[in-house]
């Protein structure tokens, strides 16, 4: 109920409850067309998003497809305990976290790129830089992973030709577990740095020209202007994006890891998402897999709320 309607209610001063209820109903009836317009999406989201949330209870049951959700017996937290005791538990969590913490460490790069692009005076050059850095974003994950695989090939790959030309050893980069995370993250930077910078470039366009001019008259050089005018101005955007990335620490995307995974780098590339897929869809252990998925979601939401609370306290900027 919005403020105007509430005020109206007070003014008319009727036996409030039934009148408000009736008014609400009348408004719904008079706006029925709006509800018709929104209905398909409401139904769609219900079927494809809320129904699975309801189905998540199989994490607490011993689900057998033949018995259905209701027919399967409750087992409480059995599958969560099983996951925590699983010898792979530590490795899965650590692999997932290492990849996302490493990615998080590259978080400033698009900001730096945006600040640098913002300083380019030649418009044509600026447009070219933007055009080229945005381009890899449009390649599909399959294509990017194929390029990585081709380039990393020990005998025929571009990276190995370069390594050899520089006097290094030929290495099967993708088959070394310790190289998996850097390859994953830096190819992500290659693909995403330009695209992620758009947000900051947009924010930089809103920096007050008066502030910049005032700083310049006070004798600040370009570097000082960036540090003391531009960066503080785009701080809200930076904080919001940072909160979002922190909330996703345990949600490394399945697609790219799965495509780059092989038997030899599994020590580093076995993450929660790929394990959930393997266990649930390839081995048909539905309940166990759903429990791990739920565990993952809960950790993510908790992290998001914590980081959001900290950010709010420190900088007054938050999502909620």
């Amino acid at each position: 109920m919005n403020a105007a309607a509430a005020k109206e209610n007070r003014v008319i001063n009727r036996p409030a409850r039934s009148a408000r209820w009736l008014r609400g109903l009348r408004r719904i009836l008079s706006d029925w067309q709006l509800y018709v317009l929104i209905a398909p999406a409401v139904i769609y989201i219900f079927l494809f998003n809320y129904m699975p949330m309801y189905g998540v209870q199989i994490a607490f049951r011993n689900f057998k497809p033949s018995k259905g959700i209701w027919g399967s017996p409750w087992v409480g937290l059995k599958y969560f305990e099983k996951f925590v005791k699983n010898p792979l538990f530590g490795r899965l969590i650590w692999n997932t976290m290492r990849i996302s913490l490493y990615s998080l460490a590259t978080f400033p790069l698009p900001i730096i790129l945006a600040l640098m692009i913002n300083e380019l005076d030649n418009q044509k050059f600026k447009k070219t830089v933007q055009m080229i850095t945005y381009a890899p974003h449009f390649l599909s994950t399959v294509v990017v992973c194929s390029m990585i695989t081709l380039f990393c090939n020990k005998d025929s790959g571009l990276f190995n030709h370069i390594a050899e030309a520089l006097g290094g050893q030929r290495t099967a980069f993708l088959e070394k577990a310790y190289l998996f995370t850097p390859i994953y993250v830096w190819s992500g930077v290659w693909q995403g740095i330009g695209w992620s910078s758009i947000l900051y470039i947009a924010a930089l366009a809103g920096v007050s020209p008066e502030l910049v001019e005032a700083a310049r008259i006070d004798g600040a050089n370009r570097f000082q202007i960036i540090l003391h005018v531009n960066v503080p101005s785009i701080m809200p955007t930076i904080v919001i994006t940072l909160i979002m990335s922190c909330g996703g620490i345990l949600s490394v995307g399945f697609e790219k890891v799965y495509l780059l995974q092989n038997k030899l780098n599994l020590d580093a590339s076995n993450i929660i998402a790929t394990y959930v897929y393997e266990l649930g869809l390839l081995n048909a252990q539905f309940s166990a897999s759903a429990a791990i998925g739920l565990f993952n979601t809960i950790v993510n939401i908790t992290l998001l709320l914590i980081v959001n609370a900290i950010a709010k306290r420190v900088s007054d900027i938050g999502l909620f």
Partner: protein
């Protein structure tokens, strides 16, 4: 956005150094980003022997179209292309049908229960059932392995919907709806005849976002499609590029017993050709996007900018 004229104020030494460094770093960055793409293109037109042995550096070596001829011989690629040509436009249309009315309705302040609907759409952004419960729900709806699966799934990106809602709220003045209401236009009419025509720019942005996402998607098909005739391009690419399922790579390997040198050479050549084919396949599958990209780039950027107004 207007930049201040820098010429009025004398550039300090630091500024000049800064400019030079900035330009150099940008040029290096462009090279690093562009070279892998450029290499893929020149490799696709080169003799596979030269590519594999590292002879291709700056331009194609012994230019040939053979890799492309081999790609075109792969039947599955055509199936993938055909499926994409059907699924991507229809799916994008379905996306718009779900996204636009929802965004419009949620932008209406007069909507009774607006806060409820806003929350209803916000929750799935942060919480979901996860892979298995979703899979079971899709299975219960009999949407595994059907020709509509890849069209219906991924119907609504809530993030895109919010971007759209912000556009409706900020770019179309409330007054025109008010006067239309007074003139007796229904909500349907206001949406179809006023809001939609005024929202053309954001519709273009949304269509592009959705279409690119669909063209590049392989996850949905990996989980829900196993019928070879329904596979989208990305799954087929994965098969050929990452799992090496090419007709060329395992051609005649069962007759390897022969010790005819000529024959062995042909076999070796086929292995090389299978490698060379990969580069051309990457180029062919990305070409539609990369060719369209320079023309539509500004729309994408616009979409992000609108989204950044209210994340």
């Amino acid at each position: 956005m207007q930049k201040i004229k820098k010429s009025k104020i004398r550039q300090s030494k630091v500024d000049v150094v800064f400019d030079v460094f900035n330009t150099i770093i940008m040029i290096l960055l462009m090279f690093v980003i562009l070279y892998p793409l450029y290499f893929t293109v020149i490799a696709s037109f080169s003799d596979p022997y030269a590519v594999v042995n590292g002879k291709v550096v700056l331009w194609p070596v012994n230019p040939t179209l053979e890799p492309y001829q081999n790609v075109f011989k792969e039947n599955r690629i055509w199936i993938g292309y055909r499926n994409n040509m059907i699924n991507v436009p229809l799916g994008t249309l379905w996306n718009l049908i779900l996204t636009l009315p929802t965004a419009y309705v949620l932008s209406k302040k007069k909507l009774h229960g607006r806060a409820f609907f806003a929350t209803y759409f916000l929750i799935p952004m942060y919480f979901g059932g996860g892979l298995i419960p979703t899979y079971m729900q899709i299975k219960n709806m009999h949407l595994i392995n059907t020709p509509y699966t890849l069209i219906l799934l991924g119907g609504l990106s809530i993030y895109n919907m919010i971007v759209c809602r912000v556009y409706f709220q900020t770019s179309i003045p409330e007054d025109i709806y008010e006067s239309a209401t007074i003139d007796g236009a229904s909500d349907f009419r206001q949406f179809f005849q006023m809001a939609l025509p005024l929202a053309k720019p954001i519709i273009a942005v949304m269509a592009l976002f959705y279409a690119v996402g669909r063209w590049n998607d392989y996850f949905t098909a990996l989980i829900y499609i196993s019928d070879n005739n329904l596979q989208p391009l990305q799954i087929i690419l994965r098969g050929i590029l990452l799992l090496n399922q090419t007709a060329l790579a395992n051609l005649n390997t069962q007759n390897l017993g022969q010790d005819d040198i000529e024959y062995m050479l042909t076999l070796a050549r086929q292995v090389y050709m299978a490698e060379g084919m990969k580069y051309s396949l990457i180029f062919i599958s990305s070409a539609p996007l990369l060719i369209a990209y320079p023309f539509v780039q500004k729309y994408f950027v616009k979409g992000i900018m609108i989204g950044s107004l209210k994340g």
